[in-house]
């Protein structure tokens, strides 16, 4: 055989063809079947084919080597040119157009016919062969592409890189170009098809479908014969590709339409264009642009996808559930692994459902895979959900061609076999589809929700839910505590509940968590506050100790203005019972008392009030004893809370105010239960048990308090018996729960101690003179107010501590599991 000199275009074209025929990927021998198919596609008489075969030496060799193949191709071109077949003509003929091959016309045609109900498509069908041939190398009429084709060459050249992918490729630009054997001609044909507007080109596409996009691309650049190439490519994909393509989709026609839309069919589209219209230049341009993004979805393709989407989900803005999508894509007969990978790529927001964009991307990928293109590792940009709107893409102006080129890898059409039937129906609506497409495009950019990765953050710590702002002990806590206690006792006695009611407004802004506690405490405080206006100093002292409650209700050290306490109206009343009954309630009010002015200097409380108060106080102390320190009864109650460091003071104070504490106890009853108790105890006992109380208080926390409190309670039980006991218990429990409150306790205890200290003297004097009694009563009232306030503060602190304790317990529980290590 004489050597064959091929032009560059021819070289490329031939090599592409060879690769196409190289089913065994031997790179040296083209499978006879393919070659023969190819030759058949050349639409040459069989004798000519035989002659060619003989001439090229294949007959001799028994197979088509590369050189033989090339020679054969050349001869085909010669034959198609109408020139006699001669060996000499191999090189002698110049400007020989590239051999043209008709795509598996029959199949393609049939499919297309079915597919394209549109006149366009149908128009295409009738002339699949003709369309295929449209590019006779030298024939100008059909070769409108001639010049354009040459012009398109560059484009094709550009595209070429994709083509070369035919050889073991790699990827020049299109990620998927791996068209070895059955390059998705269908895409090409489809592409053509999609060029409906390009008229006859549509036919090409279907026909070209078989050719596989790659071929078309490939051929195009080959210049003149480009058109022929396009055609050839379009049909070259012989049955195998078509078949494969067809197999994917039950109805090829539908798929064929897709390929038309498929960008990969750019080549074909280009060819078609040239055939159909003179808009080749446009095509070329498109192709070039398409080339840049091989994954772009053509308009037609997208329309097809949209139609398919509708079959599953009528609402274009809705989702396709994973199961439905799975069924749909399973019909493509791709391996599950690949489908899984496609899903991973296309489900952009990882929600297990496909939006229209995601669906189109997935469909596109399936088509590409079907056509032999490898799946990309990452979703191509053009397939990203946000790029739904094809209208906007530059491709719009250029019909499929570009798209075809770019997406050559993807035989969009074919793949959704299930959709095929619908496609058939859908196709007739091609025109409508445009509308839909438009609408779709409007929607498209919609809403692709970007990845919504739910951060699987470890379950929120239970702790996070519980916010325990550690109360900040304000400076005036001590004084405040004292005042609180005093007031608390007073308020408790008078009106346990009222302080509570009055208090809430005080604490609204305080820590939310401690709100409840604060409220209650606050109420106590408020009651106490209102009770003793002149006890502000006391409350101030107490506030120092009552950090948390104070913080809650009084942000600043300055004690809050005294608040009217309903209890205050009764403050004068010595209804200790009521006070004690509401001891718990008054606890909160007591807290508010903290805001009151600094604790009133301890004065000898009237024995009457002091007695009960003292009793309570003792109880409170007893309760607080162990830990919370809240109780330390009366003055001690406060200290029991860690924050209350003024307990000692309170003690003294409480003691001194015992006579009055009764009244206060009432008020404070709601407030710091502990304090209330203390106060009550103080009130009760101050007179009687002042000394013991004091001793109790001085004893400090825990141990003796319980005993003292008990005793004091008993002593003071008199009128206050019932209330103190429950209070005591409460105090105890609270104390245990609030180890942190001990700090407060001491503070308050100081105050109370101071108060109490002053009290012992009161009882003696009380019993002496009426006036003295009255004075002591007054004093007791004041003390009560203060104590009530203190009580409320203490209770507030107690609650804070409780919450802290709870949080610690939660943390402990959390840590517990790990202790299993």
């Amino acid at each position: 055989m004489e050597s064959l000199t091929l032009s560059d275009v021819e070289q490329k074209y031939y090599s592409d063809l060879f690769v196409y025929c190289d089913t065994d990927n031997t790179k040296k021998v083209a499978s006879n079947g393919r070659v023969l198919d190819l030759f058949r596609a050349a639409q040459l008489p069989s004798e000519v084919v035989l002659q060619i075969t003989e001439l090229c030496g294949a007959t001799r060799l028994g197979h088509f080597g590369r050189s033989q193949f090339y020679i054969a191709l050349r001869l085909i071109a010669v034959a198609q040119a109408g020139l006699p077949l001669r060996v000499e003509s191999l090189n002698s003929v110049k400007d020989l157009p590239l051999p043209r091959f008709v795509v598996g016309k029959n199949e393609a045609e049939a499919k297309h016919a079915a597919l394209y109900q549109d006149t366009d498509s149908q128009g295409l069908y009738p002339a699949p062969g003709a369309a295929l041939i449209p590019r006779p190398p030298g024939r100008g009429h059909q070769n409108k592409k001639g010049p354009p084709s040459s012009a398109s060459l560059p484009v094709h050249e550009v595209v070429q890189p994709q083509a070369p992918s035919i050889e073991p490729q790699p990827e020049p630009t299109s990620p998927v170009v791996s068209p070895h054997q059955s390059p998705p001609t269908s895409p090409a044909s489809w592409r053509k098809h999609k060029r409906q507007h390009s008229g006859g080109n549509a036919e090409r596409q279907p026909v070209a479908a078989s050719a596989g996009a790659v071929w078309t691309h490939f051929r195009e650049p080959q210049s003149v014969p480009v058109t022929g190439d396009g055609m050839w490519s379009s049909h070259s994909p012989p049955p195998p590709s078509q078949e494969s393509w067809v197999s994917f989709t039950a109805d090829t026609p539908p798929s064929s339409t897709l390929p038309a839309m498929h960008p990969s069919s750019v080549q074909e589209s280009t060819t078609i264009r040239t055939l159909a219209s003179a808009a080749t230049t446009n095509e070329i341009q498109r192709q070039s642009s398409a080339y840049d993004d091989p994954w772009k979805i053509t308009d037609e393709q997208r329309q097809y996808y949209i139609n398919q989407f509708k079959t599953i989900q009528p609402d274009l803005t809705g989702f396709i559930p994973g199961s439905a999508a799975k069924e749909f894509f399973t019909k493509s007969k791709l391996p599950i692994l690949e489908l899984s990978h496609i899903w991973e790529l296309s489900d952009f927001d990882k929600d297990g459902a496909l939006t229209l964009d995601e669906f189109c991307a997935a469909f596109h990928l399936v088509v590409a895979r079907k056509n032999g293109y490898d799946l990309p590792e990452k979703l191509p940009e053009s397939l990203m959900p946000k790029l739904i709107d094809l209208d906007d893409s530059a491709e719009v102006p250029e019909p499929a061609a570009d798209v075809g080129f770019s997406s050559s890898p993807v035989e969009v059409t074919t793949n959704k076999s299930p959709s095929m039937p619908s496609l058939n129906q859908a196709w007739p609506e091609m025109n409508q589809s445009n509308e839909q497409w438009e609408t779709f495009s409007e929607r498209s950019s919609s809403s692709q929700t970007l990845t919504q990765f739910d951060s699987n953050i470890a379950p929120a710590d239970p702790d996070t839910a519980i916010v325990h702002p550690v109360p900040i002990r304000m400076t005036p806590s001590k004084i405040h505590m004292q005042e609180m206690e005093l007031k608390r006792t007073g308020s408790e006695h008078n009106h346990p509940t009222s302080p509570l009611l009055a208090k809430p407004p005080e604490l609204p802004e305080e820590t939310a968590i401690k709100f409840v506690a604060a409220n209650t405490v606050g109420e106590g405080y408020s009651s106490s506050d209102s009770f003793t206006s002149d006890q502000e100093p006391i409350t101030r002292q107490r506030s120092q100790s009552g950090t948390s409650p104070e913080a809650l209700k009084v942000v600043a050290p300055p004690p809050p203005p005294p608040r009217p306490h309903p209890s205050h109206s009764r403050s004068s009343s010595l209804d200790m019972n009521r006070t004690f009954a509401a001891t718990s309630a008054s606890g909160q009010p007591q807290a508010s008392a903290i805001a009151y002015p600094p604790a009133v200097p301890p004065r000898p409380l009237p024995t009457q009030t002091s007695v009960p108060l003292s009793g309570h106080r003792v109880e409170a102390e007893g309760v607080a004893g162990s830990g919370a320190g809240l109780t330390t009864t009366s003055p001690q109650q406060i200290p029991q809370q860690p924050n209350f460091a003024d307990f000692s003071q309170f003690k003294a104070f409480a003691a001194s105010e015992q006579p009055v504490s009764l009244q206060e106890g009432d008020k404070h009853s709601e407030g710091g239960q502990l304090v209330v108790v203390d106060l009550c105890a103080q009130g009760e006992k101050s007179l009687e048990v002042a000394a013991p109380l004091r001793s109790v208080k001085s004893d400090g926390p825990a141990d003796e308090r319980p005993a003292a409190s008990v005793s004091s309670c008993k002593v003071s039980s008199g009128p206050l018996a019932p209330p103190p006991k429950p209070i005591r218990r409460r105090l105890k429990s609270e104390d245990e729960l609030r180890p942190e409150d001990e700090q407060h306790g001491p503070q308050k205890s100081n105050v109370t101690a101071a108060v109490l200290a002053a009290q012992p003297s009161i009882p003696r004097s009380v019993g002496k003179d009426k006036k003295a009694i009255q004075a002591s009563i007054r004093r007791n009232k004041e003390t009560n107010t203060v104590l009530a306030r203190l009580n409320s503060e203490l209770q507030q602190q107690l609650k804070d501590l409780l919450e802290e304790r709870i949080s610690l317990e939660v943390q402990l529980e959390q840590l517990r599991p790990f202790s299993h290590l």
Binding site: P321, G322, S323, A325, K326, F329, I336, L337, L339, S340, H341, W343, E344, D347, K350, D351, G352, E377, F453, D454, S455, N456, I457, A458, P459, P462, E813, Q814, R816, P817, F818, H820, L821
Partner: protein, 157 residues
């Protein structure tokens, strides 16, 4: 193992340490869904380590689950340290377990780093589960998941 340790040392010297000896995903029924270990180093030992760690995981699950219910922490922490490795566990609410085995020599690997690794694993695993083409109980064959695991295995300090 000697070679492995040497390799690790060398890797450490080079700055690119493969701390994570391996990562495994175990299904609810305690069969592996995904196992990946670094290089080819004693895969058998790695598998064995993972297998034995399942007992510890089960113990933790049963102990914690009863008391706290769904408050149970997904991150199980250090399951048990061996002379060569430290094994960390993480269990999802569907009783799928993740096990990470790291070198004992990686002292700079903090607990929160392990937690974040588990979090990423869990996220990736969730994505895999969302794939309708993946049947729960099948071995995980997701490239994305592979990518994430590989990235985690070759992380540098």
């Amino acid at each position: 193992m000697f070679g492995d340790s040497i390799r690790k040392c060398l890797a450490g010297l080079q700055g690119t340490q493969t701390w994570r000896v391996g990562i495994a995903v175990i299904a609810k029924e305690n069969y592996p869904l995904y196992i990946r270990s670094v290089a080819s180093q004693s895969e058998l030992k790695f598998h064995y380590t993972v297998h034995t760690s399942l007992d510890v995981v089960e113990e933790k699950i049963s102990a914690v689950g009863k008391s706290l219910g769904d408050q149970r922490e997904l991150y199980l922490g250090l399951l048990y340290p061996t002379e060569d490795y430290k094994v960390y566990g993480y269990v999802t609410n569907s009783k799928v377990k993740f096990v990470i085995v790291v070198d004992s020599s990686n002292t700079s690997l903090r607990d929160n780093e392990i937690r974040s690794m588990f979090r990423k694993l869990h996220n990736s695993f969730t994505d895999v589960m969302c794939n309708p083409f993946h049947n729960p109980g099948d071995p995980i064959q997701s490239k994305a998941f592979d990518g994430i695991v590989s990235g985690m295995m070759v992380q540098t300090g």
